[in-house]
């Protein structure tokens, strides 16, 4: 509890210093508002936004893309990852493709996803899905690969069935790797969703930013950025809480 208080105190101090330096810079160098608005202007715009229904529509739109796309990538990532991991030949066959998709700049693929899945919700969902899908597959392959031959032999001695091997050995051994991939995946998912919204469509926090940018509405742009960051922190925090819950399985990594 004491630690939490300290963290909060330090966070408040560093944010305050940041805003002060920002305000000072604008006051001293007399920066025009369309290049960098003052914290006060941005603060006003934030209040203006959170009193409007359209803002919540945009936030919820992005949030639902991220959550639904992420959920789909978890379901398919876990199933396909486990299937690949348990079949050495399929693993060897799919490895080049996995590496290809893992290193390909997925942001650059968004235009083609828009062509395939349209300007609306579908293309964004697919971007989020593809962003977090590959890290999850990779994490399962890593987790399964780290289980020693002796562990499997021990299960065999006990005459454990396949389900027991999955629940008692393989799942616990994969959990820490899967959670790490969630951390990477959820941030990637938010980046993917907002960038896709910039490029097409008329809703979402990313659309709000692209609209603000094209109309030189810098206070709105910075507000959009701030709320994207807030969304990221909340979701990342959620995954961290999950990781905390499964703390014990981190032993697998040692």
């Amino acid at each position: 509890m004491n630690n939490l208080k300290k963290t909060i105190t330090y966070t408040v101090i560093s944010l305050t210093v940041f805003v002060l330096v920002w305000q000072l810079y604008i006051s001293i160098f007399d920066v025009p508002a369309f290049i960098l608005p003052s914290p006060v202007t941005v603060g006003k715009e934030m209040i203006n936004q959170i009193t409007q229904v359209s803002f919540y529509k945009n936030m919820l739109y992005t949030l639902s893309e991220v959550l639904l796309g992420f959920a789909l990538s978890i379901v398919f990532g876990l199933l396909i990852g486990y299937f690949i991991g348990k079949h050495p030949h399929i693993k060897r066959l799919s490895m080049p493709l996995l590496v290809f998709f893992q290193v390909s700049p997925k942001i650059a693929l968004i235009p083609i996803f828009i062509i395939w899945f349209g300007l609306g919700y579908g293309s964004k969902l697919f971007v989020v899905f593809i962003m977090s899908f590959f890290p999850i597959i990779e994490s399962i392959l890593l987790g399964l690969g780290n289980i020693s031959k002796e562990m499997y032999e021990y299960m065999k001695i006990l005459k454990a069935n396949r389900i027991q091997i999955l629940t008692q050995l393989e799942a616990p051994c994969c959990i820490p790797y899967i959670l790490s991939s969630f951390k990477v995946g959820i941030i990637q998912a938010i980046i993917g969703a907002t960038v896709a919204e910039w490029m097409a469509g008329q809703l979402g926090i990313g659309y709000l930013q692209s609209f603000a940018s094209s109309t030189f509405n810098s206070p709105l742009l910075i507000t959009g950025i701030a709320f994207t960051i807030l969304l990221g922190i909340l979701l990342y925090g959620g995954v961290t809480l999950l990781e905390h819950h499964f703390q014990r399985y981190q032993e697998v990594k040692q």
Binding site: Y154, M155, K156, I157, L158, A160, Q254
Partner: protein, 250 residues
């Protein structure tokens, strides 16, 4: 009473460069109830392979294995060289895990686990995680775990091979006591001749590859075995006889 009869067991492997290697050839051995049999032999001769065949971790090419009690085969204990404990489970959870898998968690079996914790001096470590344990403690846990479901047959594959001499002596004493108290039949693979003589009722000496049984020596030493026994002429005689046999092999 005979528990297991192995008749003419042979097994060969294909090595990484494609050669056929005959690991075991025509091994016949019968194991009596309540015996403590050690298997020694030159390194790489297939001692472990024999245990792995018995426990169905490996197949064999020809021969026959007769279990005089079918239940034995599905309910044997196996102790690996590495303790193979699950790192996220405590000592107690690790020991109880086989009972969970075998759906054998009853008040009686759980009471038996308490006895095992006591017997293996693990009481105060019951809530520790494996990483907090010394090598000896880990192996104690591993042994207790293999006994949790009360198997009649215990197979041990160099369980003390990675431990220091002091810990090893200590565990030898405890294993011998455990064997007498719990009335198990134990097959014990080791490369340590003294350990084999100290623990066993019989020592099986395997030859170099392809392994056959070179000789079986019955150890006729007092039932009550203490570390001092190792300085008696009888003990030293057994050791040098076995060492002589092994030297012939290599």
């Amino acid at each position: 009473m005979t528990m297991i009869e192995m008749k003419n067991i042979s097994k060969s492997f294909t090595s990484t460069n494609g050669e056929r290697i005959q690991a075991i050839k025509d091994v016949s051995l019968s194991v009596e109830k309540d015996e403590f049999i050690s298997i020694i032999g030159p390194s790489g001769c297939g001692k472990s392979t024999l245990l792995r065949i018995l426990s169905e971790l490996q197949e064999y090419d020809s021969g026959e294995i007769l279990f005089h009690d079918e239940n034995l085969k599905d309910n044997l204990g196996f102790v690996f060289q590495d303790s193979v404990l699950l790192p996220w489970k405590s000592v107690y959870e690790n020991i109880v895990m086989p009972l969970k898998i075998k759906h054998m968690e009853t008040p009686e079996t759980l009471a038996h686990v308490e006895e095992l914790l006591d017997l293996m001096n693990l009481k105060e470590f019951r809530n520790s995680l494996p990483k907090e344990l010394s090598g000896g403690m880990k192996q104690r846990t591993s042994i207790a775990r293999s006994l949790s479901y009360n198997p009649k047959l215990l197979l041990m594959d160099e369980p003390f091979g990675a431990l220091d001499a002091m810990t090893r002596d200590h565990l030898n004493l405890e294993l011998r006591r455990l064997w007498k108290q719990t009335k198990k039949t134990i097959l014990f693979v080791t490369h340590d001749i003294e350990e084999a003589v100290f623990l066993s009722t019989r020592v099986v000496v395997l030859s170099n590859r392809p392994s056959t049984i070179h000789d079986i020596v019955t150890i006729d030493l007092p039932e009550e075995r203490t570390l001092e026994l190792r300085d008696t002429p009888d003990f030293i005689n057994y050791v040098s006889r076995l060492r002589g046999m092994l030297n012939e092999q290599s």
